[in-house]
């Protein structure tokens, strides 16, 4: 079992402190969901864990099996077992999807994976995600629709097989069919060797990927922990309801 520990994490973007002391522990075999209103720091948390240079950690620790992730470069964190399905994946012209994924898979192996074996797995993952073979030879994310980009993130995750995946709003812009497909991919990963942190606004995704734990984030902190029922409650009462119930003095971004 692997453990990802986030301790008292403070993160600033362009000099402004967004995260104000986040504590969270994930273990493989567990699916955690973080819910929260817009602008509350959910994506900041995922980017800071991955090591995006635009996000500055000003205080706290992130440990993967006791290893200090903050001392590691982005690619080292990835090879240590982290994966981030991004909201806005970059487009890389001229690099085919399949070659890129193969490089990513081989980056964490001593010997490259035999091509035949790779392609077998790749084809299976494509099938699981209802993706056509054409997606293999297209340039990475270039000209992909929003839904194609999301599926492609999950495709990479399935091929790379990280210890921990962070799925940052993987449901945004997906219709219900695509949502089910993406959920199928994630559920297939669900083993004792895999943990995930799902970041979402909406409870809907959690109908298809049922989490073990739900955390609510507001104002740069986690303000409430619970099980799947917490997501249901939020769906019914909204974030403002929970905030008022907890007596928090936080202004929600979308409030007038």
């Amino acid at each position: 079992m692997a453990v990802l520990e986030i301790k008292d994490l403070h993160v600033a973007v362009a000099g402004k402190e967004i995260l104000q002391g986040v504590n969270l522990t994930l273990r493989t075999g567990e699916i955690h969901a973080i819910m929260g209103p817009n602008g509350t720091g959910k994506s900041t948390l995922s980017e800071a864990i991955m090591g995006n240079p635009k996000y500055e950690v000003t205080q706290g620790e992130i440990l993967l099996d006791g290893q200090d992730l903050l001392q590691m470069a982005v690619d080292e964190r990835a090879r240590a077992g982290l994966f981030l399905a991004m909201q806005y994946p970059a487009e890389i012209p001229g690099v085919t999807n399949v070659n890129f994924i193969r490089d990513a898979v081989n980056a964490r192996r001593e010997k490259p994976m035999p091509i035949r074996e790779f392609l077998q797995e790749f084809d299976q993952a494509l099938a699981t995600l209802d993706m056509t073979e054409k997606m293999a030879d297209r340039y990475l994310n270039q000209g992909f629709s929003g839904g194609e980009k999301k599926r492609n993130e999950i495709l990479q995750m399935m091929m790379i097989k990280p210890k921990f995946a962070i799925l940052d709003e993987i449901d945004s812009g997906l219709d219900i069919d695509a949502l089910k497909v993406v959920a199928r991919g994630v559920n297939q990963m669900r083993t004792p060797a895999f943990g995930a942190l799902i970041i979402t606004h909406y409870q809907r995704l959690l109908n298809y990927i049922v989490p073990d734990y739900v955390h609510v984030m507001m104002g740069g902190r986690i303000v409430q922990h619970g099980g799947p029922e917490l997501a249901q409650k939020l769906e019914a009462e909204g974030y403002a309801g929970l905030r008022d119930e907890l007596g928090l003095d936080i202004k929600l971004v979308d409030e007038n």
Partner: protein, 467 residues
């Protein structure tokens, strides 16, 4: 679908080896009219060719250096060997090629390339073709593929009709120099309606320090015929500067097609000053595919004269300018007939202080009604020391034409690097991938082996560019 692994590359300059073959005949350093006569006599040339050379020599002496582009003041004309002959007969079969040369060629992969992909092969060694092999089907189809010296002897009328017509000696100083002292190069004639089924390839190579190379290539693709010609260049490292001033003339007759692919990787002391020109007649298509990786200075602007209605001309190029490299390249498209189209796609990369400039010229003549031109220049500048300029020049003498021009200069994007690294790919490998992706529209047009070799060369040049 999957690229071959490209990790097995050493760090030293891959083609920086030299062998010890003594030339059989050399005119020594420097150039005079007498030397021009000697060259012609050594080749047992007809009178008209000697006259052509001598006229060109006079023009060469009078013409000024180019008024634009890179600094050529360090070129030392007095210490160049204008002619060397390393063997006195042209080899027909591989067995006849001297062992030492053969080893050199084998290191360059010539025989393998031939086996796998190519219909015929002629490899230039120093100033003359020593190895020449043509498949029997070529003879059957009437395709002529030989070194230009032999063509002068065997097909004097055909050569004389086209030689020096697209690029007269007075075109520029280096074309004049080539016309005076040319040696070797490739001659290809494809008869009417014949479509050459496979790419034809020629390997060029400079071997001795101070040895100028002045190949003369002449191609005629007759009506309705098609040809795909591939030329690859590699050169060993020297201490003294070397001059390479080729002339390439391509005649594409009505309804014919020609693609001319070049990859140049001269060692970085070579001045590569080439004149390449094609003429496309009615509904003919001429495509230049041109990659420049090495050289100290490159000046090269392949052109297409679109002289027949509906003719098409394209140029797809990449330039990679590393340390101490000044690459001044581009294309010229001359629309002289109605409904002609041209496209120039130029990609450049510069790093470690390299200079990669695009210099292009598009001209719509008075008769170019309904013609169209597209120009696209894409540059990646890898560091602060390097630079790139886009210098397009357009001349429009007809109101009924259209033209597009796009130019983009960028750096390796942080977002792209972050994304690739977040998948476990190192920063160096990620940078390489982005660069390879940038040149991919070029490499995908190359025969497989060339694409692999180009990727290797770029990988080698990229090595150590990060952190």
């Amino acid at each position: 679908m999957i690229e071959p692994d490209i990790k097995d590359i050493g760090k030293e300059y891959k083609y920086g080896f030299k062998d010890n073959i003594e030339p059989i005949l050399t005119t020594g350093e420097g150039l005079t009219a007498d030397i021009v006569r000697q060259i012609s006599a050594a080749k047992n040339e007809p009178e008209w060719m000697l006259d052509f050379r001598l006229r060109a020599y006079e023009i060469y002496r009078k013409l000024p250096m180019p008024s634009f582009g890179p600094d050529l003041s360090k070129l030392d004309y007095e210490h160049i060997n204008y002619f060397r002959r390393s063997t006195d007969k042209v080899a027909r079969s591989w067995d006849d090629v001297p062992q030492e040369m053969k080893e050199t060629f084998e290191r360059l992969g010539v025989p393998q390339a031939e086996r796998k992909y190519l219909a015929g092969s002629s490899a230039q060694y120093e100033s003359e073709v020593v190895y020449h092999n043509m498949k029997k089907e070529f003879d059957k189809l009437g395709i002529i593929f030989m070194d230009t010296d032999s063509a002068v002897q065997q097909y004097p009328e055909l050569v004389r009709k086209y030689f020096g017509k697209l690029i007269p000696p007075a075109d520029n100083k280096f074309a004049a120099l080539n016309s005076a002292v040319w040696s070797g190069g490739t001659f290809i004639y494809v008869p009417k309606g014949v479509r050459v089924p496979m790419p034809i390839q020629s390997y060029f190579r400079i071997n001795a320090g101070n040895s100028g190379q002045f190949e003369r290539t002449l191609i005629i693709v007759d009506e309705g015929a098609s040809l795909n010609y591939v030329e690859g260049c590699t050169a060993p490292n020297y201490s003294a500067d070397s001059l390479h001033a080729a002339v390439v003339e391509v005649n594409v007759l009505p309804n014919a097609y020609c693609r001319y692919t070049t990859i140049q990787n001269w060692s970085n002391n070579v001045y590569s000053l080439e004149t390449k020109r094609a003429r496309a007649l009615e509904n003919a298509t001429m495509e230049w595919v041109d990659g420049n990786l090495g050289s100290k200075v490159t000046m090269k602007y392949p052109s297409v004269y679109l002289d027949g209605q509906g003719a098409k001309g394209t140029m797809l190029s990449i330039a990679f300018a590393g340390k101490n490299i000044d690459s001044d390249t581009g294309a010229r498209m001359i629309h002289n007939a109605p409904k002609t189209t041209s496209s120039i796609i130029s990609k450049s990369l510069c790093k470690d202080g390299g200079i990669a400039d695009y210099r292009g010229y598009v001209r719509f003549g008075r008769k170019s009604d309904g013609s169209f031109a597209h120009v696209e220049c894409d540059t990646i500048i890898m560091d602060e020391q390097s630079s790139s300029d886009t210098i397009p020049y357009n001349e429009v003498l007809n109101g009924n034409v259209s033209m597009e021009h796009e130019a983009k200069v960028s750096k390796i994007s942080e977002e792209q690097l972050y994304y690739l690294q977040s998948r476990g790919i190192s920063e160096q490998k990620a940078t390489e991938m982005i660069v390879m992706g940038f040149v991919e529209p070029f490499t995908k047009e190359l025969p497989m082996e060339y694409a692999v070799e180009l990727n290797r060369l770029i990988e080698y040049q990229m090595d150590g560019s990060v952190g």
